[in-house]
């Protein structure tokens, strides 16, 4: 699951690191899509994953789930007010079909995998 997550997250344009620390922690990772999942909460503003230029986060390995269905099963029955599934940096190909990153949200996404239990 860890390997698949790393492969898919890199394909989605993330930088995946094995070390270092970051200010925030993602709530989950999804192996199928290489996504990071953030849940709004008292200590987790929505701006913390969207309103910045570089998103640098830690992801505990044991928080990686297989696919979307696994994530959705974990969220029930108490859905948070916002669940963001983020797959790579903010991007657009609106002009001349050219891919550009960072139009609104982060232009870079760094994921630091943590092997703690």
């Amino acid at each position: 699951m860890r390997e698949l997550f790393v492969e898919r997250a890199r394909e989605a344009g993330c930088t995946v690191l094995e070390d270092g620390s970051a200010g925030i922690e993602a709530d989950y990772g999804i192996a199928e899509t290489g996504s990071l999942v953030f849940l709004a909460a008292r200590d987790r503003a929505r701006a913390s994953w969207i309103d910045l230029e570089v998103l640098d986060v830690e992801l505990p390995e044991n928080r990686i789930v297989g696919n979307l269905e696994d994530l959705f099963a974990l969220l029930q029955p108490n859905m948070p007010s916002a669940v963001a599934i983020v797959t790579g940096p903010s991007r657009t190909a609106d002009i001349e079909q050219t891919l550009v990153v960072g139009v609104h949200g982060p232009r870079e996404v760094r994921v630091r995998l943590k092997s703690r239990s």
Partner: protein, 447 residues
């Protein structure tokens, strides 16, 4: 108002615009190839598409119950649901929510449903400032144009045109920076955020939004009030059923495994949360959709607005989006627009197709688009709408070929007149660049 001649005139203009032709060809090919690669990598794509079709069909069959469940779930989370019948009623509801919020600036995230109810016009008429935040739509708005493609609204726009709209030099990096700065101010100062909804989950009362830019996340995180304009058919019963539809939407629209920002919003901000809207309103629009239920066009309500049919349509790929209508275009638009407004007014659209079936083949949820177009043409004939010349022609033909003598006379005339056929009428258009086919001798005369 669109009529047959309007469509033809608009199409002719597009066909002679070299830049538009090149941009449409590149844009639609890139999106189509992306879908095909993603479908190829998806494993059992046929199974996924069939599952998607089943989920959509079952949902539409029991839509009233799912809408009630959605309303109950969302109300329990503190959201407010407003059901509306007409486009005018829907737009007026949003205007009144904005007025009550004492709003001045409205930030919008890309939404075809708000285009459908002409929301920007209604908000502006009420004295509000409205800013589109999807990059392509923002540029189109500055230029006074409507989105041309469900997924790529500014498909024909050049870098130079984009730079001009933003007042910077034509370099992609500068364009990006200018847009980011200008729109950042909008997100931070807007009083109301307006979005559409890609899906709405009945069991949890959640709104699901997908964008690659992340603008929907900012529009729903920062302004004090969030208004969702929800097409009544966009319901999904459960979260478990949402998953396959998200895969189908992302792979079919842009060739991705999942859209960069896939967000589920369930009610307004909760106690002690730092951001998110204080109020969440969902304006459910019918606007003609109920009229499709129980008819042979019901399957059109299965559409998940991925735009895959546009990218493969030989007519869309040549004429572009604005030729069709101000809202939906391509094969899905040619079916949906006449059904939602009126067949009389949109009589040209069912003809904007070669009936080649590429759209049906591309549709992730298996809507038989080209068959529905043919059905609409039958309706046009049954209701006596459309070209009088065509009707007279077929009446004469049917009368002539109902008798042996009529058949003989007309086919002999046709054979004799063949050399003239290349000089005028449809024959001239056909023979421009190729030979007019020879009419075979009648079978009976060959003995």
């Amino acid at each position: 108002m669109s009529t047959r001649t309007d469509f033809r005139r608009a199409a002719r203009v597009a066909l002679h615009d070299e830049h538009a032709q090149a941009a449409l060809a590149t844009g639609t090919s890139r999106l189509r190839d992306g879908r095909l690669v993603a479908w190829g990598e998806a494993g059992d794509i046929a199974g996924l598409r069939e599952r998607g079709r089943q989920i959509r069909t079952a949902t539409i069959a029991d839509l009233d119950r799912h809408l009630e469940t959605f309303e109950r779930s969302l109300s329990a989370r503190g959201g407010v649901v407003h059901r509306t019948r007409t486009a005018e009623e829907a737009a007026a509801t949003v205007v009144s929510i904005c007025r009550q919020a004492n709003a001045h600036l409205v930030a919008k995230s890309k939404s075809m449903a708000t285009e459908e109810i002409e929301l920007n016009r209604a908000l502006e008429a009420a004295g509000l400032e409205v800013v589109e935040t999807d990059l392509g739509e923002y540029l189109m708005q500055i230029r006074g144009e409507h989105p041309e493609h469900i997924v790529a609204p500014a498909i024909k726009l050049t870098r130079t045109e984009a730079a001009e709209a933003l007042g910077v030099e034509p370099e992609m990096d500068l364009v990006m920076r200018a847009a980011r700065e200008q729109l950042r101010t909008v997100f931070q100062t807007a009083d109301v955020g307006v979005t559409g909804a890609n899906f709405a989950v009945a069991e949890t009362g959640s709104i699901c939004l997908v964008t690659n830019e992340g603008n929907a996340d900012l529009v729903t995180a920062l302004p004090r009030v969030h208004v969702v304009v929800l097409g009544m058919e966009r319901l999904v019963p459960t979260l478990a059923e949402l998953a396959p539809l998200l895969r189908l939407l992302a792979s079919s629209a842009t060739g991705e495994r999942l859209t960069t920002y896939t967000t589920l919003l369930t009610g307004p901000r909760r106690q002690d949360e730092a951001d998110g809207p204080e109020e969440l309103h969902v304006v459910v629009i019918d606007n003609g959709r109920s009229g499709l239920r129980g008819t042979r066009y019901e399957e059109m309500l299965n559409c998940i607005r991925c735009g895959a049919c546009l990218n493969v349509c030989p007519v869309y790929r040549k004429t572009g989006g604005t030729t069709y209508s101000d809202v939906y275009s391509g094969p899905m638009g040619a079916v949906l627009v006449p059904l939602l407004s009126s067949l009389e007014r949109e009589a040209a659209l069912p003809h904007a197709s070669s009936l080649c079936g590429a759209c049906t083949e591309a549709c992730p949820v298996g809507i038989p688009l080209h068959e529905l177009l043919l059905e609409l043409r039958r309706d046009l004939v049954d209701r006596g709408i459309g070209s009088r010349l065509e009707r007279v022609g077929f009446t004469v033909w049917s009368w002539a070929w109902s008798s042996v003598i009529g058949y003989r006379i007309t086919t002999t005339l046709a054979r004799l007149a063949r050399p003239l056929g290349a000089l005028a009428g449809p024959g001239r258009i056909w023979s421009h660049g190729r030979a007019l086919p020879r009419l075979s001798r009648r079978f009976r005369d060959r003995r």
